[in-house]
């Protein structure tokens, strides 16, 4: 049930009309993947010229045949697509909140990974040491294309912005009136908070299909870690067990109900 069928229509196939215009430039700049309005299963029209690569054909022709980290998509994601996506996120994610950017692209737009899968990995990424987005990139890269996918995802995510941030710093220090750029960046960072908040609200609403316990759990961990600023790991361990019991009950209920 949680492992989505490629034939299942995407949960947000009805693209709101207002997005078509604003997203157009974005998509043109990007590679192919999810052409607006095109249902996920029909990947063929969007496949680039390089589609003759063996990975693509193998993924499409024999889904699940010992192709270990196979994506749930109708075809497997190419390494170039991984590099292109993570490079783009690394370079465009002004103001931080990279998990939200990755979520938009990987779960929302391209539907390479189902939402629950992504959020499970996100929680793991938060528990583990290291920057959340890098841990998440390793998971996503590995899930899509194994070790090479994970390595390329991290390099594409870190390399370009590392150069940019150094150049920006040099620019700020060279400018006599550096204050303006500083305030500009503050404003960018503030609105980027909105991107992350919107992701939190959206995933909270989506989880609701599993029952009201999901909302209680979300509020509890927000209060404990965000408001009370209790240490993350013990809180996640305790609430994780609570959530696991609730999820188990829910699964049982589904089985007996059906």
């Amino acid at each position: 049930m949680t492992e989505p069928d490629p034939a299942t229509p995407p949960h947000r196939a009805e693209a709101p009309p207002e997005t078509a215009g604003s997203a157009a430039a974005d998509i043109a700049a990007a590679d192919i993947a999810a052409a607006p309005g095109a249902p996920d299963g029909i990947a063929a029209p969007g496949i680039p010229d390089g589609a003759a690569s063996p990975g693509v054909l193998a993924g499409a022709a024999a889904p699940g045949v010992s192709h270990e980290p196979a994506a749930p998509a109708a075809r497997s994601v190419t390494l170039m697509e991984i590099v292109s996506l993570f490079g783009r996120i690394g370079l465009t994610s002004f103001g931080g909140g990279l998990s939200a950017w990755l979520y938009r692209e990987v779960v929302g737009r391209r539907q390479w990974i189902p939402e629950e899968d992504f959020l499970g990995a996100l929680t793991m990424a938060q528990i583990l040491p290291g920057a959340n987005i890098i841990n998440l990139a390793i998971y996503v890269g590995h899930r899509l294309r194994g070790a090479l996918g994970a390595t390329l995802a991290v390099l594409a995510l870190l390399g370009p912005p590392m150069i940019v941030v150094i150049l920006v710093t040099n620019a700020i220090q060279a400018l006599p009136a550096g204050g303006w750029l500083h305030d500009f960046l503050e404003g960018v960072a503030a609105s980027a908070i909105g991107l992350t908040a919107a992701m939190g609200l959206r995933t909270t609403r989506r989880a609701w299909v599993n029952g009201p316990w999901t909302l209680l759990l979300t509020i509890a961990i927000f209060a404990a870690v965000g408001v009370m600023q209790w240490p993350l790991i013990p809180v996640v361990l305790v609430l994780g067990v609570v959530g696991w019991l609730a999820a188990r009950a829910k699964v049982k209920e589904e089985v007996t109900g059906a």
Partner: protein, 180 residues
Amino acid sequence: MHKEGNLYLQLFGVFAPLSLLSIGGGQSILADIQRQTVDVYHWVTQAQFVEYFAIARAAPGPGSLFSTLIGYHVGGWLGALVAAIGLFGPSSVLAYIVARVWRRHREKAWFQQAQRALAPLASGLILAGVLTVLRAATGGISIYIIAGIATAVFTRFEKMNPLPLLFAAGAIEGFLQHAG
């Protein structure tokens, strides 16, 4: 200016152990990075530290890239690279191992349940992170207003390209701070 010894080894020696201690993201090791780079090694001043942190947070890419700014400041491009490898290397190796184990169990029933249980936790942690970042913001009330409006817009138009709004917010904040 600095202590004796090879600078690049020192950079690596400061950041690599912290890599495995940075549980819950970069915030948890911030204090210790500051202590070592400012107080112990005098690679940067306190003011530079704060400035680099603000720049890395606003510029594209992970905020933890600010460690590479410290590396660059004291050791040029090679210093930046060494600091990045030190801070991101060890934790990435660990994350890779966990990802492999994680994926191996994905078909099992308990795993599916666990994944379903972790989703609401992730949502709560995301929102908690929002609160933490808001608390740390240096600006005034305009920061909260911009963040609130951006949340509403991004929630309503979930597929929109965020960049125009981000840049507009930057321009508005720049204007507000300099007009007033």
